[in-house]
Amino acid sequence: MKDRHLPDEKISAFIDGEILPNSDRKHLEVCPLCSKKLESYKLISSTLSNLKPISSKLALTEKIKLAISKESTHTTSLSWTPNSSFLTYALFTTLAILLIISSLYIFILHQQNSIEKEGFLNLTNVSENKPFSNYESISNLSDVLYTDYPEDTVALLIALAYENELDYKKELLNLEGITNVALSDVVLSLGDEIGLLEEY
C-alpha cells in the first residue's frame, strides 16, 4: 500500500472537501510522502487564502464611477430622436462628404502610381526628401535590419518612421530609447503594419 502513492489530483480534491474512500484515507495517515504532500497543500491553501489584499494605487472606485457616469451621459444622448428636416440635412451632408472622400481617394491613387514609378520607397530617396539630423544612425539601423529582413520591409519601416509626424522620430534613432513604452507601441504598430510580426 505504501508503494502506491495517491495521485496529486486525489490529494488536491481532498483539500477541497472531496470524500476519499477509507483505504485512501488510511494511506494518507501511514504514508510519510503522501501525508507530507497533504500538509504542504494545506499550507499553500491557508497561505493563499490569507494573501494581503491587493490595494489599488489610485481611487479605483472613483475612476469607475466617473467612467460609468460618462457612459450614462452618452446613453442618454443616444436616445434623442431627430426630426425629418434634420434627417434631410444630414442626408445631404453625408452625400457631400462621400463625394469629397471619393475625390481624394482617386487623387491619392494617382499620386501613388507616380511614386511607385519613381521608386519613392528607396531609403536614400526618403532621406533626401526629408533630411534628418541623425541620418547616420538610421543608416546603421537599417544596415543591421537588412541582415534579417527583406529590403523592401526595412525600407517601408524606415519610410513609415519618416512619414509619421509623432514625437518618437528622434527616439527611434536613439537606440537606447527603444525600451520606452510609448515608443515600443509605435514600433509595434509599425511592425504590425508591415507584417513584420508575422514571422513570430
Binding site: T47, N50, K52, I68, L175, V187
Partner: protein, 190 residues
C-alpha cells in the same frame, strides 16, 4: 439596497439606477482586482482591466439575463480582457526582444528574491506570494480563484469555460507546481 442580490441590483441598474450599479462595483472591485493582478502581474494594468470590465458590463446591461451567476460572468469578462492584454504584451515583448538583440547587449535581469528576517509565517507568505507569480498564468489564476477568492469547482469552470474534470486536474497540477517551487526555495520539505 445593499442587501439586495446581484441580479436584483442589475434589474435596478437597467432602469437607470446608478447607485445600484455602484453597489455592485463596491461588492466586486477588490476581488476582481486581486484576480486580475495575479493574471497580468501589474497593478496599474489590473486596475485598467477592472475598470474596463465594469464599463463593458454597464454597456451591455440591457442584454444581461440572470441565467448564470453574476460573479462568474464578471470574472469571465475580466479574464478575457486580461488575457487579451497578456497576449498583446507578449507580442510586444517578443518584438522588442528581437530589436534589443540587435541594438544592445543588455539583458533583462530577474529581480533577486530577498528573504526577510521576520516571523516564519510572514516569510512563507511572502515567498508564496512571489512564487505564485512565477507560475504560468493558467495555474496562477486557478489557484487565486479557488484559494483566495473562494470559488468552487463549478464557478471556476464557468469563469474558465472548461469542464469540471479540467478544473480538478489543473488545480492539482497548480498546487503541485507551486509546492515544487517552494521545495526548491527551501520553504517546505520535500
Amino acid at each position: 439596497m445593499r442587501s439586495l442580490e446581484d441580479w436584483e441590483l442589475i434589474a435596478l441598474a437597467k432602469q437607470g439606477n446608478i447607485e445600484a450599479y455602484d453597489i455592485l462595483v463596491q461588492r466586486y472591485k477588490d476581488k476582481l482586482l486581486t484576480y486580475c493582478y495575479y493574471l497580468v502581474k501589474d497593478i496599474t494594468t489590473a486596475e485598467d482591466v477592472v475598470q474596463d470590465t465594469f464599463i463593458r458590463v454597464y454597456r451591455s446591461l440591457q442584454t444581461l439575463k440572470p441565467s448564470a451567476q453574476f460573479k462568474t460572468l464578471l470574472f469571465g469578462i475580466a479574464r478575457n480582457l486580461a488575457l487579451n492584454h497578456i497576449r498583446n504584451e507578449n507580442r510586444r515583448k517578443l518584438f522588442l526582444t528581437r530589436w534589443l538583440e540587435y541594438f544592445s547587449n543588455n539583458k533583462v535581469h530577474d529581480h533577486a528574491n530577498t528573504t526577510s528576517e521576520k516571523a516564519i509565517q510572514k516569510e512563507i507568505a511572502d515567498v508564496v506570494e512571489t512564487t505564485i507569480l512565477e507560475l504560468p498564468s493558467q495555474y496562477r489564476e486557478i489557484l487565486i480563484l479557488r484559494e483566495n477568492l473562494g470559488l468552487d469547482y463549478e464557478q471556476i469552470s464557468e469563469v474558465l469555460s472548461c469542464n469540471l474534470g479540467t478544473v480538478k486536474s489543473r488545480l492539482a497540477r497548480a498546487r503541485e507546481l507551486l509546492r515544487n517551487k517552494l521545495v526548491d526555495k527551501g520553504v517546505i520539505e520535500k
